[in-house]
């Protein structure tokens, strides 16, 4: 199945901003995240604009957005 992965802030360094990927059915958020070996801890995960846990199972057409812990205001 096909998913869109978006990275932000420090996670972009030496990686990408947005990429469409083929993954097997049953792939979870944490499968995708671990494969990328992101530096530091994961702050925010959105799947289709909703907060998701690492154990969330992805579906075809999903957009996964991964942020380090960020803040401002």
């Amino acid at each position: 199945m096909r998913i869109t992965v978006k990275l932000f802030a420090t996670f972009r360094k030496c990686r990408f901003d947005v990429k469409v990927r083929e993954v097997p059915p049953g792939t979870t958020v944490s499968d995708v995240v671990e494969e990328m070996r992101l530096p530091g801890s994961i702050g925010i995960i959105f799947v289709n604009s909703r907060h998701a846990d690492p154990s969330h199972e992805l579906s075809d057409g999903d957009t996964l957005a991964v942020f380090p812990l960020v803040g401002g205001g």
Binding site: K6, F8, A9, T10, R12, D17, G40, S41, G43, I44, F46, S49, R50, H51, A65, F67, P68, L69, V70, G71, G72, G73
Partner: protein
């Protein structure tokens, strides 16, 4: 900080001042000080631009010490924008300098007759209040250029631009940064209009010959400050994200969350948000020879500010903040950082709140004055404010006035003050804060965005009403206390996530005063401030019906989540039940 300077601008024969002991206000700083004086001494039914109102300027209780991050200054008054009590705070150099001069507060009282414009100079040698009509009609940047040549290089400045002189309701008070640029503003609630009504154009603070304030227990204080700084540096938000990308790191987050108010709160997603994100902004600044990491005051270890330059490397403005980039950017459908930076400069130069001004432009776009996305048109509109045309005066009075004048229903304000860059339908916790804070819609009064969206300081679903009231209550209490210390609010991220950093702050305050401070003491202080402010607003005529969002937030679902604000009125009325 054992004295209060009172300047009676309306005294017979010209302004008179006196310095008095801090007395019953001893130990208070920042917001605790401004709200205590306003609630005790200002008639709640007075006209905000009249002689009965007072403008109180107070450094935080830790300002002027060697405590990191302690450079926030609070300005209080009855707000001409909201009609309620106001505390607006800013960074820059003023708090540290004023505190080292020994003043716990400056209180501007009364109102002079006639057209003369005044400046107030404060140094170790005393106070001078003098007429300087050569400053009339000067925007902030040329004003500072003119004043700089006349005073010591160490001086810090608090000034109003042309908007303050015109007494526009969104007028700000500018504080200079370490490079003496008028970039840090007490933006919210029209404090600049109150300073303008008192005919004070500039306050010049020179701490030459003064020393840092000494703690009662210097060794404990140093140790606590060290642990505090370690905590800030090791937290990802204050140690990495904010220094690298500034506050605008939030554009992509809120946009991804579907909570980024776009086209005057019509949708929660801006298709061109990536173009104005913090990531792109920082890269552009570095590429052009600007600065992506900069402190707004000496002693700041977070360094979330920066310097924005044009394609030729020439200074345009300080790094526009997230709220500004949103207000003038996505809120107006504008995706050009150069346009937004120009608008940020104009706001600072004329001295208006970037949020209420951006929201007013968005409302003007809704009314059809110019189309959404028209950057050149937005610049023309804001330039009208500087010219003082009737249209400019309307816009410079903020979103609510603009909406009334142009017959717009969708006006994102509470108690007359514009909302910030978070839609209250898709971040319901911030909706509770917008609705109920004493300040008018104000995201900083209880930053529920942390637990709702950023997953910092807790974890609560932003799209559900459950738990939002309790969270907003706790954050409003904690914020009122932090706003009293002079500490930058961004310390709240590590404070809420790292108990040892919170303890370090308690130890630092305790060591300064030679006492032992607990979390309960902090909570008690926060509650006492909110109580004073609520009581002032009640006496000014506010009821529970003012603690509500505009009805369109309850009626119009916002895409992409297609939700309305669902916290009930009954629950909103429980925020201050503790």
């Amino acid at each position: 900080m054992d004295k209060i300077l009172r300047v009676d601008m309306g005294a017979e024969g010209g302004p008179k001042f006196k310095t008095e002991p801090v007395g019953e206000f001893a130990g208070l700083g920042g917001r605790a000080m401004t709200s205590a004086i306003i609630s005790k001494e200002v008639h709640p039914l007075c006209h905000p631009l009249g002689a009965e109102n007072k403008l109180v300027i107070a450094p935080g209780s830790l300002s002027g010490t060697s405590a990191s991050m302690s450079g926030r200054i609070s300005v209080g008054c009855k707000s001409p924008l909201t009609g309620g009590i106001k505390e607006s705070n800013a960074g820059g150099q003023a708090a540290q300098v004023l505190a080292r001069l020994g003043y716990a507060a400056i209180v501007l009282e009364g109102k002079p007759e006639g057209d003369d414009l005044y400046k107030i100079f404060i140094s170790k040698d005393g106070v001078e209040v003098s007429v300087d009509n050569s400053l009339k009609n000067l925007p902030n940047y040329p004003l500072i250029e003119k004043l700089k040549g006349q005073y010591n290089d160490r001086a810090a400045y608090m000034t109003i631009g042309t908007a303050g002189e015109m007494k526009l309701l969104a007028a700000s008070i500018a504080c200079t940064d370490p490079e003496k640029r008028p970039t840090r503003h007490c933006g919210r609630g029209g404090t600049g209009a109150v300073m303008g009504a008192k005919r004070v154009k500039a306050i010049i603070l020179d701490d030459t010959g003064m020393k840092m304030r000494e703690p009662k227990d210097p060794e404990k204080f140093r140790n606590a400050n060290r642990r505090f700084v370690e905590g800030l540096r090791k937290h990802p938000i204050t140690g990495e994200g904010l220094p690298a990308y500034g506050t605008n790191v939030l554009t992509n987050v809120l946009n991804e969350a579907g909570a980024y108010p776009t086209h005057n709160f019509r949708t929660g997603r801006f298709e061109n948000a990536a173009n104005i994100s913090g990531e792109v902004q920082a890269e552009l600044e570095v590429k052009r020879g600007g600065i992506a990491t900069h402190g707004c005051h000496r002693g700041c270890v977070i360094q979330c500010s920066g310097v924005y330059v044009d394609k030729d490397g020439k200074y345009v403005t300080k790094q526009p903040e997230y709220e500004t980039v949103w207000a003038h950017g996505g809120n107006c459908g504008i995706d050009d950082l150069d346009v937004i930076a120009r608008l940020d400069f104009l706001d600072d130069n004329f001295g208006v709140d970037t949020m209420d001004t951006g929201a007013a432009v968005g409302v003007a776009m809704e009314a059809g004055l110019i189309p959404f996305g028209d950057g050149a048109g937005a610049i023309r509109l804001v330039e009208e404010i500087g010219k003082g045309t009737p249209l400019g005066r309307i816009l410079g009075c903020g979103a609510e006035v603009t909406g009334k004048v142009f017959g717009v229903e969708r006006v994102p304000v509470v108690k007359g003050q514009a909302m910030a860059a978070y839609d209250p339908r898709s971040v319901m916790g911030i909706g509770v804060t917008y609705a109920t804070t004493t300040q008018g819609a104000d995201h900083t009064a209880g930053y529920s965005v942390g637990p709702n969206v950023l997953k910092s300081g807790g974890d609560l679903d932003p799209l559900k009403p459950e738990g939002q009231v309790e969270m907003s209550r706790n954050l409003q209490i904690a914020t009122a206390a932090v706003d009293s210390t002079g500490m930058c609010l961004f310390i709240a991220f590590p404070l809420l996530d790292q108990p040892e950093t919170f303890q370090a702050l308690l130890d630092m305050i305790g060591a300064f005063h030679g006492i032992t401070l607990t979390g309960d003491d902090v909570t008690a202080l926060g509650k006492s401030i909110l109580k004073m402010e609520r009581e002032f607003n009640t006496r000014a005529g506010f009821t529970k019906h003012h603690d509500r969002l505009p009805r369109f937030f309850l009626k119009e679902p916002i895409p992409p989540h297609n939700v309305t604000f669902q916290v009930t009125d009954e629950d909103l009325d429980k925020v201050f039940n503790w």
